[in-house]
């Protein structure tokens, strides 16, 4: 029977692919700025974010302090700029950890099957039934450990989704004739996984990396908002949002700006991730 009547990857398709919607372009633009802030924010900031001037406590925006000052009289703009680092570093670690670990395990489980597959599957089943944020709140709030434990726990909780995605993407690839042909040629499994499957599931991996990043950004800043995330004294968007909420009428910028930036960054990454996913998707489902 004829099962395949595929549309060849013609010119029309690649033309459509290359066009980046305006929203995605804007998102990419902001992310570039955010990354610059995360890396150089502290140096670009007009003031030392830690510099205190308690007598200027909670002053509204002014010429010297564009976003006003916080309760200790620190410059809010500088704190926001320096906070980009903390706000993005944790999520980056979660997403990287998840992608590296989850990608490797997913690839292995999807290609090798057997014991690894059932083990990771059981693990994923268990983790899937847990509301991640609540787990972290309980662990950090009761057991303690702070920000980096939160990052670790979040990584563990994000892993199952990543494993499943990479696993199913791998399984899709592993059944394709080009992989079977490579196996028939007697190529070692490691080489097949690295050279054949990995490049082909890479788009999925990158897209899920971005989506994992968003999840972690939201969770970690939420945790900071609850006072369980970034330790006091480290500028962080979620923590600024929380401390500023009490002083909203005196200087609304303390919470407004970080809140908006969290939402903006998360939305931008999602937009980019979605776009990449739709563009290069090779199978498997969105998390």
């Amino acid at each position: 029977m004829v099962a395949v009547s595929q549309v060849p990857a013609g010119r029309a398709r690649s033309a459509r692919r290359n066009r980046m919607p305006i929203t995605v372009r804007l998102a990419t633009g902001w992310l570039f700025v955010a990354v610059v802030l995360a890396v150089f924010g502290r140096r670009l900031a007009p003031f030392d974010p830690g510099e205190q001037n308690p007598l200027l406590s909670v002053s509204p925006p002014s010429g010297a302090h564009w976003l006003g000052t916080d309760q200790l009289g620190s410059d809010v703009l500088s704190e926001v700029m320096a906070g980009a680092g903390t706000a993005l570093l944790g999520p980056l670690c979660v997403a990287l950890g998840t992608v590296l670990l989850g990608g490797a395990l997913g690839l292995l489980a999807g290609y090798r099957g057997g014991l690894i597959d059932s083990l990771t599957n059981r693990f994923a089943d268990l983790m899937y039934a847990l509301p991640g944020l609540l787990v972290i709140v309980v662990v950090i709030g009761v057991v303690g450990g702070g920000y980096w434990v939160a990052v670790a726990v979040l990584t563990v909780l994000t892993l199952p989704g990543e494993i499943r995605l990479c696993r199913s993407a791998t399984q899709v690839q592993a059944r394709l004739p080009y992989v079977e042909a490579a196996r028939t040629l007697g190529l070692p499994a490691a080489r097949i996984m690295r050279r054949h499957i990995l490049p082909n599931i890479m788009p999925t991996v990158i897209a899920t990396f971005l989506l994992d990043f968003v999840g972690a950004l939201v969770s970690l800043s939420g945790l900071s908002y609850l006072g369980l995330g970034a330790p006091p004294g480290i500028p962080d968007w979620g923590a600024l949002l929380q401390t500023g909420q009490n002083l909203l009428t005196d200087n609304p910028m303390i919470s407004l700006v970080p809140g908006a930036l969290i939402a903006l960054t998360a939305t931008s990454v999602t937009l980019l991730g979605d776009w990449l996913y739709d563009r290069y998707s090779v199978g498997g489902t969105r998390p």
Partner: protein
């Protein structure tokens, strides 16, 4: 200062009834037995289980007003006899007896009671006659009357019938105050009028306490008329509260000590230079503005001047003495110089726990962190739940640098609070000398201010001893005196206090008598 006068702009009070009054509290009390050391709990319980006498602050000294007891006689330094008001009935109609009072005092002294710490030296309470209760102390005490008078009086029969669940919603205590408990849920506590109340009824008919954990939410609650009153935990937000349409804020001076303690028995704080470097690294004036919006005063020594009332010859003389004590203001150069002379010229690291939710503590630690950073000192702020903080604090282990927040007493005598911060006697678990500070000077003068022995000294000796100790503390710096915070209350449009309620009014239940409607 304290106790009288109302803020400008408050609407005039009327004598009309207030059908119901809802007041925001930051957390649900653990227990409603009334036998507590927590201000927030006593604010509620004292309306139901009232004290024998009410303490109020007058001209800087604590005064006792008759309440359930019409009078008290100090028979000797170790014996106190209360004469009870006659004809008082509990809310359930049973008459209040001397046995009820004696039982209540003994309950407060039980080893498992929260108040056990205050009752050190308690030797017994007996109903020595109809309407008469005799309380005995094991040693001559200077503050036994303040301590005992403040205790809540419960109906003993009811309380003994509920040994396990007294104070829970299943067994809310029965008292003789203006109100009786109606109900308690996890969210609020409702009080109804006590039909058998002996005194003049407050204007508020029904009072409800509802839990609102954070200040921002409480502001919103007042904005939407869900509450009529609230304490203001974060004094910096006072202006915001005032911004809520028609809301009036009342502030009152308190006998509160905010201190920074450093464990003088362990490195690095066993080094005086280190302690001085720390002292020179705190921007007290700045924090005063940033954290309290000016609603606090800088503390000159361990306690506010009022707490020396029991020993000082006169207010002026006491003030003169306090002014003569060395004070430490933010001075990076001196801080640097001190640290350079210490055993840690290149700095050290320390974690500073403070009570989660105490905003000023957070700001103080952050200020210290920032100011000591250039000296190579790494300070890690660590917010912890109150229970955990007290646990560490009272354990005397690894106390290092501690932020002591809101230590207060109703006794205007060094034997009330001050004595506990110094001396070998207080360096044991469950005693408050977290700095583990003592030396010959302290030990020599300590008996004159310690509750167990102070009664045997003359006032002049005690003043001399107090001065010696405070001078030594100021030089040796086991503690850095910080602030004495005011307490602040917000009342919604349509309500007023006839005068600023002090902390004492909050503790004795007198605050509700100050409440009026303005319509």
């Amino acid at each position: 200062t304290g106790g009288s006068g109302t803020p400008a702009g408050a609407a005039p009070a009327t004598e009309s009834d207030i059908p119901s009054f809802t007041y925001a509290i930051p957390a649900m009390p653990t227990s409603l037995t009334g036998i507590t050391t927590k201000v927030q709990t006593q604010l509620i319980t004292s309306l139901v289980t009232e004290p024998l006498e009410r303490v109020s602050l007058n001209e800087g000294t604590a005064q006792l007003q008759p309440n359930l007891a019409t009078s008290a006689r100090q028979v000797d330094p170790q014996t106190l006899v209360y004469t009870l008001r006659s004809g008082v009935k509990f809310s359930d109609g049973t008459p209040l007896t001397a046995d009820d009072v004696a039982w209540s005092i003994k309950a407060a002294a039980a080893k498992t009671a929260e108040t056990a710490g205050n009752m050190a030296g308690f030797a017994g309470a007996t109903a020595s006659g109809p309407g008469e209760v005799t309380v005995k102390w094991a040693f001559p005490s200077v503050n036994m009357r303040e301590t005992v008078s403040e205790l809540p009086v419960l109906e003993a029969a009811f309380a003994t019938a509920h040994p396990d669940d007294l104070g829970t919603s299943a067994a809310l205590p029965v008292g003789s105050g203006p109100y009786a408990y109606q109900s308690q849920t996890s969210q609020d506590i409702s009080l109804k009028p006590n039909p058998n109340y002996w005194g003049t009824r407050p204007k508020a008919q029904n009072v409800k306490f509802t839990v609102i954990a954070d200040g921002a939410s409480a502001q919103l609650a007042m904005r939407s008329d869900s509450i009529q009153g609230s304490g203001i935990a974060d004094l910096k937000t006072t202006t915001q509260w005032q911004g809520i349409n028609g809301t009036t804020v009342y502030t009152a001076q308190n006998l509160v000590s905010d201190l920074l303690s450093m464990d003088t028995s362990k490195p690095p704080f066993n080094d005086l230079h280190v302690r001085q470097a720390v002292a020179y690294s705190i921007d007290r004036k700045g924090i005063l503005a940033a954290a309290f919006g000016g609603n606090a005063e800088q503390l000159q020594t361990l306690v506010p001047i009022e707490e020396l009332a029991g020993v000082m010859p006169s207010q002026a003389e006491a003030q003169q003495f306090l002014d003569s004590l060395p004070q430490y203001e933010l001075d990076p150069a001196k801080a640097k110089a001190q640290l350079a002379q210490s055993a840690y010229p290149n700095g050290f690291s320390v974690t500073v726990p403070y009570i989660n939710g105490s905003n000023w503590s957070r700001l103080l630690v952050l200020n210290l962190q920032q100011n000591m950073k250039p000296l190579g000192v790494t300070i890690t702020p660590q917010p912890v739940p109150a229970g955990q903080w007290f646990q560490t604090f009272f354990s005397h282990q690894a106390t290092g640098l501690q932020v002591l927040s809101g230590f207060s007493t109703t006794t205007t005598d060094p034997a009330g609070l001050l004595f506990g911060f110094v001396g070998a006697a207080n360096m044991k678990p469950n005693l408050p000398n977290s700095a583990n500070f003592t030396n010959d000077v302290i030990e020599k003068n300590y008996p004159a201010i310690a509750p167990a022995t102070a009664g045997t000294y003359s006032k002049a000796d005690r003043w001399a001893a107090t001065k010696a100790i405070l001078t030594d503390v100021a030089h040796q710096l086991p503690y850095i005196p910080l602030f004495s915070e005011k307490t602040a209350y917000a009342l919604a449009k349509g309500y007023t206090f006839t005068q600023n309620p002090s902390l004492f009014d909050t503790l004795s239940g007198a605050w509700i008598d100050l409440l009026r409607s303005t319509t």
